[in-house]
Structure formats: C-alpha cells, structure tokens
C-alpha cells in the first residue's frame, strides 16, 4: 500500500448544484455535479457512505449519499432542514456552488449482500442512506434475491421518496420487490399504519437467507432486532447506519466517539455502518 497523502485527507471539491426537488416540508433532494471533470470521472462511493458538505462561512455537515453508486459524476443528497448549515443549504438554487469532501465511512459491505434477499427498513430520514442501497440493488438486480423495503415515518406526508416508490410499484411487483410504506401516527393517512416492526409479516424475503439494512432513530432498533431474531433472521446479516455529531468525518475530532473502554469506536471511520454484534457488544452504540 502506498503511503497516504496527508493533503488528500481534507481535500474538498467544488460541486455545482444542478437541481433541487422538494420532498417534504423539511427535506429536499439536491443533485450535484463535480465541477472538475477529472474528479467527476474518478469519484466513487459505496452505499452508506457520506460526504462532508461545506457552505463556506456557514459550516460543514456530514450527509449520506442517497443516489445510486453507479451514476458517475453526479450524486444526490437528501437533506433535512435542521440547523445552521442545513437551513442555508435549503436556500441554495441551481447553479450555486458548494464544496464537498469524502466519501467517508465504511459504507454497507455490499459483497455480503450478494445472492441473498434484501430487507431495507427505514424510519424518517433513515430512508436517505437506504435509498442508495436500494438503487444499488436495482442497478445490480441480478446479484440480489427478493427485495423488501419498509419506509416509515410519523405522518404520511413526511414519508421520504414516497412518490418515487409509489411510481415504482408496477415494475417492483414484476421484479419481486415489495414496497411497504407506513405512517405511524397519522389519522389522515390512507395507507398502512403502525411501526415498521409490525409489518415484518408482509415481507417477501426469506429470513434465513436475507441481509437486512436498517436506518432510523435509535429507539427503532431495539424492537426491530427482537422481532427479527424471533422471525429467524441471521444476526450476522443485520446492519444499521448510525448517527452522531461529527466535525471531521475522518476519525480526528472525537465528537462521534462511542463505546466503552474495551471497544472505543469512531462512528465516522469504524461506522457509520455497524452490524448486530457490534451493537450488542458495544454498550451505548444505540
């Protein structure tokens, strides 16, 4: 292995915002392109990885890449308006420039997903990183068995990518893909209700040969795990995507530190994707 180049660690690239799509009241989808064609050509990422997006003068935030890993030169970020930087990102217009560094983090170990069924369970913003996995699976459809995606949120109108998923219904059925969208606390919602774990009976995957990727608020994981293990899912194939405060994204600034004395982790480098056994052996992870 060649010696790492320190100057590359924090190297940022200029990116142009091409398009903005409003998804929900608080989330927008942003399509970016690298300004430098060479970077655009060579830049790669894995589903589950994230970038650090800088708005000079406002700050920098970690954001999961939510587009397909196959689309070269372009990438999409789904961003919730949450604070200083993200509110400012929401004001960007096509043509505006930002600076991006990354991709960082381990990403999902996609090779361990091959030739198995795939279950994706997202709650709220968790859909962002999982969309990247989902699109990856669609792009490489032959590498995967049956696919189920459970997309949940509190209110129906808060479901991320709901329209996109709905539009896919017909192809999905043909392709053995089950799409389940559920709103947990919305009296006006016409579709399915209840939390994600309650819909595990509607999946089209075989628990014994399925890989699962989950992303949502920490409290979702516990009930999900219990349920899944009861149903016979193999814990070695359950992955989650975690979140912590982050500044550097490369294991330096310490904000994303988690764990205990025997297992001290940096969410950004050792994660953000962890598997079930990480979770149960590292107290405090979720």
């Amino acid at each position: 292995m060649s010696k790492p180049d320190p100057m590359k660690t924090y190297e940022t690239h200029k990116c142009r915002l091409l398009r903005v799509y409003g998804l929900t009241e608080h989330e927008k989808l942003f399509l970016f392109r690298f300004d430098d064609p060479e970077i655009a050509q060579s830049w790669r990422f894995m589903p589950g990885q994230f970038v650090e997006l800088s708005l000079l003068g406002h700050g920098e935030v970690p954001i999961s890449i939510c587009s397909s890993a196959r689309r070269m030169g372009f990438f999409e970020l789904c961003i919730r308006k949450a604070g200083r930087v993200t509110s400012e990102i929401h004001k960007l217009k096509p043509g505006d420039m930002v600076r991006i560094r990354g991709p960082y983090g381990n990403g999902f170990p996609m090779d361990r997903f091959y030739d198995r069924d795939l279950l994706l369970v997202a709650a709220g913003l968790g859909m962002a990183p999982l969309r990247s996995v989902f699109l990856y699976a669609l792009d490489n459809r032959w590498l995967f068995g049956n696919i189920t995606i459970i997309n949940s949120s509190k209110l129906g109108k808060e479901l991320l990518f709901a329209k996109e998923l709905k539009a896919m219904r017909d192809i999905a059925t043909a392709e053995n893909i089950e799409i389940i969208q559920t709103a947990t606390r919305d009296p006006d919602w016409g579709g399915l209700t209840g939390r994600a774990p309650t819909h595990l009976d509607k999946v089209n995957v075989d628990p014994t040969k399925c890989t699962a990727a989950l992303c949502g608020p920490p409290r979702m994981y516990k009930s999900m795990f219990e349920q899944m293990i009861k149903l016979g899912y193999d814990p070695r194939y359950i992955f989650v995507n975690l979140e912590r405060r982050m500044k550097c994204g490369v294991g330096k600034c310490g904000h994303c530190n988690i764990g205990t004395a025997t297992s001290w982790k940096y969410t950004c480098k050792d994660g953000p994707v962890f598997d079930y056994y990480d979770i149960i052996s590292i107290p405090g992870l979720i």
């Binding site: 790492p4 000079l56 003068g57 406002h58 600076r99 405060r245 500044k247 550097c248």
Partner: protein, 342 residues
C-alpha cells in the same frame, strides 16, 4: 540503542546548540507551583526538575486554536493555511508525555493523516528527560514510565550529568554534529543509571499493571462512583484540556464583515462540554454531567494499538489540575476493586 553521556557543565551549551536549530520549547516555572512548556529565551530558565506541565506537549503539533483555511465565498475557493514546517525542538519531555505524543500520532497520522499535525510533527525534535514520580503519577501501571520509542534523545539524570539514549537517526546526527558536548559512558554511569531507575520504580504509590482495567471498568458501568464523583464535577474541561492524549476539536467558520471571505478555525473541544454530543434538533447523546464523566473514564482507559497501552498515560494532570479535586487514579482503583488508595 546507543548511549552517551552529557556532563552537567555541558548542559547549557547543549541547550544553546538546540536553540540555534529552531524554536526551542521546554518546561518553565510559571507560578508558585506550576510549570508549563514555553518557548525558551534564556536556557537558564529551563526547569529540569518539574513534576508536570499544565498544558501538554501536544499543543506544539496540534495548537489550541488554528486556522485551517481561509475562504472566498464569491468564488467558493479555499486557501489552506499549512504550517510553515519550522523546526520545533521540544526539550524535557517526560516518558509518559512521549507516549502521549505517540498516541496522538496514532490518531492523527493514520490512513487519513491530518496534514496540519503531520507537518509540524515531522519537523519536531523530541528530547526526553527522566523524572521521579510524585503521588499523582501512575505511569508505571500504564506501562508508560519508560519509553523505547518516540524520542530523538532521552536524558537520564546522573549525579554529574545525564545518560543519553539515542532514539532516532536525527538523534544520532545531533550527537555526531556536536561531539564536543558528549562523552562515552563509564561503568560508574551505568551503576548510577541503574540506581536511579530502581529508586524511581520504588517511588510509585501504585504498583502492578492496569492492563485489565478496561474490562473491570466495563463490567461496572453502573458503579456508584460515577454518580458521586460527577456530582462534584464542574464540567470545566480542565481534565481533558490538560491531558496529553485528548484531541477532540471543534470547528467554526468566521466570515468577514463584508461577507466575501473568512476563515475556518479549529480549536480544542472537550467531551465534558454539553455541546460535544449535541446534534441538530436538540438530541444529546451525552445529556448529563454523569454521561460525560463516564465517557471520559471509558475513553481514557480504552486501548491504543500503536502503543499497546491505554489512552491514559498516567501523567496525573487531570487530577492535579482539577479545581474540584476529583481523583482519577483513586476513582479508577475504586472501580477496579481494590478500594480507594493503593
């Protein structure tokens, strides 16, 4: 390893020589009781018998506050402000602090190295200095009381000078280039060195080895010590800011008044502060003082693969400089199961 002797009467001249090579930093007495690493103007100010400095040596490679780049918001361009790479000569570093620097290296010069740190570190010369422990030291149980690596030269006190261990090529060059200051060691020197080491070892208030501390700690995450002690805590961050291996930092953008430019700075942060675990929307991963207190105990006792020690090197700063007088060592021992005191 090569050993030479620096006789007492040559020490000042040797320091002068070091000073001529770059900026020399060393321990100085800064108040009635405290010492700190400072730039050395007059080599007579160097304090050879100090217990511990208030700020750790890492500050020379990872400054308290630095500009990482300046930016131009109109063209969305950045200009990184890299350190100049001037030689930094750090004299008088104790063994534990040398391990501390190696722990810093393990995090800052990994597969994604931090250029700001790395450039400074590559321009650093480290001269170690032997010491005798006081009641706050517990480097012995951390296996950091004696070092084999991480220094260019290491000076061990003899009655009439110093026994010098040479750790790196830079160290060899230093000696080759100024042979007039050094002598070969005699058998008497060897005896004296052994005597000093024996004496040093015997002086520790805790003995043994704490390699299994991390397991014991983990088994007792709910130990009442955490609640009791964190109640006394001020959350002031002194323990982490003085620690030779703490390295959390915070980042902030400072736009200029007219908004066309600005700078991004980074500065030391502490896991003892509320905002350390706070995320957008108001959720805090470490919401209480106890959570933050526990976090430090876990982090410091975790295992560093590079040095094969814990992240805590046992320098005693976090206790010595704690305004609330919270005893790290004693608290660890309490959880460890041997009760308070050694």
């Amino acid at each position: 390893m090569r050993y030479v002797k620096l006789p007492k009467e040559k020490v000042c001249e040797f320091l002068e020589r070091l000073k001529s090579m770059g900026t020399l930093y060393g321990p100085k007495k800064i108040s009635e009781k405290f010492y700190d690493f400072r730039e050395i103007g007059d080599v007579k100010e160097v304090e050879f018998e100090y217990n511990r400095t208030i700020t750790p040596p890492r500050k020379y490679f990872f400054p308290e506050r630095e500009t990482v780049f300046t930016f131009d918001t109109v063209n969305v361009e950045i200009h990184e402000t890299m350190p100049e790479g001037k030689p930094i000569i750090l004299f008088g570093v104790h063994a534990c602090d040398i391990v501390g620097l190696r722990i810093m290296d393990s995090r800052f010069i990994d597969d994604l190295p931090d250029p700001y740190y790395q450039i400074r570190r590559e321009n650093g010369i480290i001269i170690g200095l032997s010491c005798l422990p006081d009641e706050y030291c517990f480097c012995s149980v951390r296996r950091t009381d004696f070092v084999d690596a991480g220094f260019d030269l290491f000076l061990h006190l003899l009655p009439d000078g110093y026994l010098v261990r040479v750790g790196t090529v830079t160290g060899h060059k230093l000696i080759e280039n100024s042979p007039e200051y050094f002598e070969e060691i005699s058998s008497e020197d060897k005896d004296n060195f052994a005597k000093f080491e024996t004496k040093r070892r015997s002086m520790f208030t805790v003995q043994g080895n704490w390699d299994d501390m991390r397991y014991r700690l983990e088994l007792h995450l709910d130990h009442p010590m955490y609640m009791r002690e964190s109640d006394k805590c001020l959350g002031c961050g002194n323990c982490t800011l003085t620690c030779p291996t703490c390295r959390c930092y915070e980042v902030k953008d400072l736009p200029t008044l007219d908004g066309t430019g600005g700078e991004r700075i980074r500065f030391w942060d502490s896991c003892q502060f509320r905002s350390h675990g706070l995320v957008a929307g108001g959720h805090n991963f470490r919401p209480t003082k106890k959570d933050r207190f526990l976090n430090r105990y876990q982090c410091k006792n975790a295992y560093c693969e590079t040095t094969t020690t814990s992240y805590c090197v046992g320098c005693g700063r976090c206790t010595y400089f704690c305004p609330a007088d919270i005893q790290f060592k004693e608290n660890l021992l309490e959880v460890y199961g041997t009760g308070g005191g050694a």
